[in-house]
């Protein structure tokens, strides 16, 4: 190994470091080291002047490596790597020592000790620099195509956005029809368009695009590969109806179907047949036979020749460069007896109520009874004092007020009573709240420790509250209908999330890397998240995040090639015995079993490995080295430290 020539720069950081650490003493302590060619102190290492001086020093003296002892590498590692790069040195030969957070700030009560520690830290960095090698970034081919999982409003909008960027898109929807939750709503707040109209508009746009493939009734069943090249297997369940159907025949087929199951589209308020469409204008236009509930009686086949039970399940394989998850949410289902849910027939959930008012005209009737007084109980399944869902579901306040206003416009005789815990009709939605107040809706409020109660007295349902807006006075409403304002929870079916090993946050929704700065990326490289699968969002927010995720997914693959840090784990094939411990320890799914010259060993996927080092300590035969953190480097650092 060629002898190193190392330049060391010790920063005052104004006084942040030098007030407690004697930087001159540190300089003197390291200056004499064999491999140290020059050692300098500087007022601000990060200043333009010093950066220029570093470049000059490197070029003039032919330094092979540089150490800067200053602040946290989080702040300036990249700054100084770039300095070395400008001086035509490989940037991975740069080593950073943190003597501010780890010495001066941590030990401001002990100047001698702080100086001592700083000397050790800098010596350790020099020891590491002695072994620092020039490294090249890893390059991986990236497919210019994206799989969008979930064809709700977020998925559809993301697909359109990706399609505009001349990127191949495969839009995968588990349900037989597109539109997700939005297709379930008629009137929406702050727009005159209905949910169904929005979905239809998006679908009509989607189908004109040649680079989008729509797969409905389809599920991702396996995932191989990684960023740049994911290989997905998709199971397509047939509709059992050929696309060349005669509408009249199909109408008859639906009529004759003897099966009746609760209609999930209407939140089980009404029944549907085994051959069905959720609503007339729904896309794709071909209805579907739900084989799980179909009795194969054959009645539909007799009246409609398009029915074809011989259609078979199809499994296709696609390869994409990135995956965009937009799998949406489930409405919270209240527990048995929660505010009278399931124990009183006058208690329903907000989604059910929204379907109810959409479906009815003239008078509001539920279970044969005319409805006059409606009590809305807010934050059911959200902001729980006892329970897991401590988060706010964001859209339910607005949604409830919108539904209450819609109901009042449609059925002027009703009275709306809102039992809330403080309203969150943020932004423009505040106008709705003001409208609702002016229309005579009554709002009663409590804290989480004084929730309203629902008591059932015979056929009557009484809602009581100690209203904090009326000095805590107990107030009761005899409600003909109690609407539980249920929030959003993650989809109960998380198979697809498990396939991609997507991490979840405390709220059990998919987790982004950084809530503010990297809001649509996940720790799984190449997989972005959009819409309500990430957490409660309204339509506008879902679309926002969808557009953002589409751009992010595209930016990863747009060059057709991916560059990744060379700081990855490496396997010594001679030592590896494939015990599988490293595969289990890897949080990024970057290690897999492979065969090399007849021997089963572990292999690292460089595109996915983050160089975190979780695998190295669990490897019994010591076959794993993490680049730039090799055992030799670490041991030499430890020697310098102790």
């Amino acid at each position: 190994m060629k002898k190193k020539k190392i330049g060391v720069y010790i920063c005052h950081c104004g006084g942040n470091i030098s007030d407690y650490v004697d930087v001159e003493k540190v300089r003197q302590a390291v200056e004499g080291e064999d491999i140290v060619f020059l050692a300098k102190t500087t007022m601000f290492a990060c200043s333009d002047a010093n950066q220029r001086e570093m470049v000059n020093d490197i070029e003039a003296n032919g330094l092979t490596s540089v150490v800067v002892a200053s602040c946290s590498p989080k702040l300036h590692l990249l700054t100084f790597r770039n300095v070395t790069q400008r001086a035509n040195l490989n940037k991975y030969t740069y080593v950073h020592a943190n003597i501010r957070e780890q010495a001066s700030w941590a030990h401001s009560d002990n100047k001698i000790g702080a100086t001592e520690k700083a000397i050790h830290l800098v010596k350790a960095a020099i020891a590491k620099a002695n072994y620092a090698e020039a490294l090249e970034t890893n390059k991986v081919k990236a497919l210019k195509s994206v799989a969008v999982i979930g064809a709700g409003v977020a998925g559809m909008k993301a697909a359109i956005s990706l399609s505009n960027k001349e990127c191949e898109v495969v839009l995968i929807e588990k349900e037989p029809f597109v539109g997700g939750r939005v297709s379930q709503w008629d009137s929406l707040s702050t727009t005159t368009e209905t949910g169904k109209e929005i979905v239809n508009r998006l679908y009509n746009d989607l189908i004109t695009r040649e680079n989008i493939t729509i797969c409905t009734n389809s599920e991702v069943i396996s995932n191989k590969g990684s960023v740049g090249n994911f290989t997905l297997k998709i199971k397509k369940t047939p509709r059992y109806i050929s696309t060349s159907f005669h509408p009249e025949d199909l109408k008859k087929a639906i009529e004759v179907c003897p099966v009746e199951v609760p209609d999930e589209f209407n939140f089980r308020l009404t029944p549907r047949k085994a051959i069905y469409k959720n609503y007339p204008g729904e896309y794709p236009q071909t209805p579907v036979i739900d084989l799980k509930n179909c009795t194969r009686c054959g009645a539909c086949e007799k009246v409609c020749p398009a029915v074809n039970f011989s259609e078979e399940e199809d499994i296709i394989e696609i390869s994409v460069g990135s995956v965009l998850m937009a799998t949406g949410f489930d409405p919270y289902t209240p527990a048995y007896g929660e505010f009278g849910y399931a124990t009183s027939e006058n208690v329903i959930t907000l989604p059910q109520f929204k379907r109810l008012i959409d479906e009815q005209s003239d008078t509001l009737v539920y279970k044969g009874k005319a409805i006059q007084n409606i009590a809305y109980i807010y934050c059911v399944g959200s902001r729980q004092a006892k329970g897991d869902n401590t988060y706010c579901s964001r859209n339910c306040c607005t949604s409830t007020i919108h539904a209450a206003l819609t109901a009042k416009n449609k059925f002027p005789d009703i009275n709306n009573f809102h039992f809330n815990r403080g309203l969150r009709t943020y932004g423009k939605q505040e106008i709705l709240y003001a409208d609702s107040l002016r229309s005579g809706d009554i709002y009663l409020q409590s804290y989480e420790d004084g929730l309203p109660t629902v008591t059932i007295e015979g056929k009557k349902t009484i809602v009581k509250i100690n209203d904090i807006l009326t000095n805590g006075k107990e107030i009761e409403v005899e409600a003909d209908l109690v609407v539980l304002v249920t929030g959003m929870v993650p989809r109960a079916d998380n198979k697809v999330g498990t396939l991609f090993k997507l991490p979840k946050g405390r709220d059990k929704f998919y987790n982004e890397i950084h809530m503010k700065l990297r809001p649509v990326e996940t720790v799984i490289d190449g997989v972005t998240i959009a819409g309500a699968c990430q957490g409660p969002k309204n339509i506008a927010e879902s679309v926002n995040s969808a557009l953002s995720a589409a751009t992010k997914s595209y930016s990863i693959i747009s060059k057709g090639e991916l560059e990744s840090e060379p700081l990855v784990a490496t396997i010594d094939p001679d030592r590896c015995t494939w015990c599988g411990a490293c595969e289990a320890a890897c949080p990024f799914d970057a290690i897999m079993k492979s065969e090399k010259e007849g021997k089963i060993i572990a292999a690292i996927n460089n595109a996915v490995c983050k160089g975190c080092g979780m695998c190295a300590p669990v490897c019994e035969p010591d076959a794993i080295n993490v680049t730039a953190c090799s055992s030799t480097e670490i041991m030499s650092m430890i020697d310098a430290l102790v």
Partner: protein, 347 residues
């Protein structure tokens, strides 16, 4: 256990409340009110009770009378829910509830009915005048008699029972225990507030309005005293004559300013005028002016013209005594001072 009455808001709108449902309970109104205290806090609480329609709580409350309408709350209300006008409409509502005849409520809520009452009294006066052949002397004599009888009757039959009802709603019904001694010892407050309205001075920048109002009350009471007990129109004493001129002039000059400010609508207090407000200020103005003119015509010896002028004065007087005093805004003179008295009892 309180039950909500969502239709109460609509009922209150008939008494002049504007948009009070828009309240989102921020409490700015209570924070800016210079009369509200921690113990007796308003107007938000009254807005809230009105929104919920908790009529029992409203009827037992003295708070509407403890507000003297500076209008600061309405100025600061972010929802434009007009809390000050809500308090005003609650005073009208309470006046209607205290009134055992129910006529106050009917007239507050229906302008046509009020007009009908005014027309009816006009017809009555004309019939009376016709029956005495429009002879001025007879008219003045009987007019004077009428005044005395009306004061006694309205006081005993309408006002006294209504104040008793107010006592029932606010003290007895809620079960407030008050010793007889306290009734006596607090009595001073009743008269102080009745003749000074000093609480109105607690409103910010209200000195001028308070003084005008004070002057008007003193002027009005003096005019009443001069015409009824000193028989101003027939008096031969110079001192009485001059005094009558002064007090009647005070009445119509001050009320003229009140009418003007209600037309200009510059201040919060004069922005929203219900028919009952107009009747009150205009009739006061007419009464002062017509009394002044009648006496002036007597002094100028213009007896023939004075016949008609007196007829106008008598009509105004009759309408005042039979409509506005028992069933109109006049009663706030009593209820406000009794409210301060009862509040003292409750404290």
């Amino acid at each position: 256990m309180a039950k909500i009455n969502p239709s109460f808001g609509k009922e209150l709108n008939k008494y002049g409340a504007i948009n009070s449902n828009a309240c989102y309970n921020c409490g700015n109104c209570t924070a800016v009110c210079s009369l509200s205290t921690e113990e007796v806090s308003f107007p938000r609480e009254m807005v809230r009770l009105s929104t919920l329609g908790l009529e029992d709580d409203i009827q037992s409350s003295l708070k509407p009378w403890e507000c003297y309408y500076c209008g600061e709350c309405s100025t600061h209300c972010p929802q434009e829910a007009n809390p000050s006008e809500l308090m005003m409409s609650l005073r009208r509502y309470l006046t209607a509830k205290y009134d055992w005849t129910g006529l106050s409520g009917l007239m507050y809520k229906s302008l046509p009915l009020s007009i009908a009452a005014f027309v009816l009294t006009l017809v009555g006066v004309l019939i009376f005048a016709f029956s005495v052949d429009f002879v001025l002397e007879k008219m003045v004599h009987i007019g004077h008699l009428f005044e005395m009888i009306a004061i006694g009757t309205v006081g005993l039959v309408i006002l006294l029972p209504n104040v008793a009802r107010m006592w029932w709603f606010t003290i007895l019904k809620p079960g407030t225990k008050v010793s007889f001694k306290k009734y006596l010892s607090s009595m001073g407050d009743l008269f102080v507030h009745m003749f000074t309205q000093k609480r109105a001075l607690g409103c910010d920048d209200n000195q001028l309005r308070w003084f005008e109002h004070f002057l008007m009350v003193i002027g009005y009471l003096s005019l009443l005293f001069t015409t009824v007990f000193l028989n101003w129109f027939s008096s031969e004493y110079l001192i009485v004559t001059i005094f009558g001129y002064v007090v009647s002039a005070i009445v119509f000059v001050v009320t003229f300013d009140f009418v003007l400010s209600r037309i200009k609508k510059k201040k919060e207090i004069s922005k929203h005028s219900q028919p009952s407000d107009w009747f009150f200020v205009i009739w006061l103005f007419l009464m002062g002016l017509s009394a002044f003119m009648v006496r002036l015509f007597i002094d100028l010896d213009l007896l023939e013209t004075n016949k008609w002028l007196y007829l106008v004065h008598l009509t105004v007087l009759v309408q005042w005594a039979l409509i506005i005093v028992p069933f109109g805004k006049w009663t706030h003179f009593l209820y406000r001072s009794f409210a301060m008295y009862f509040a003292k009892l409750k404290a």
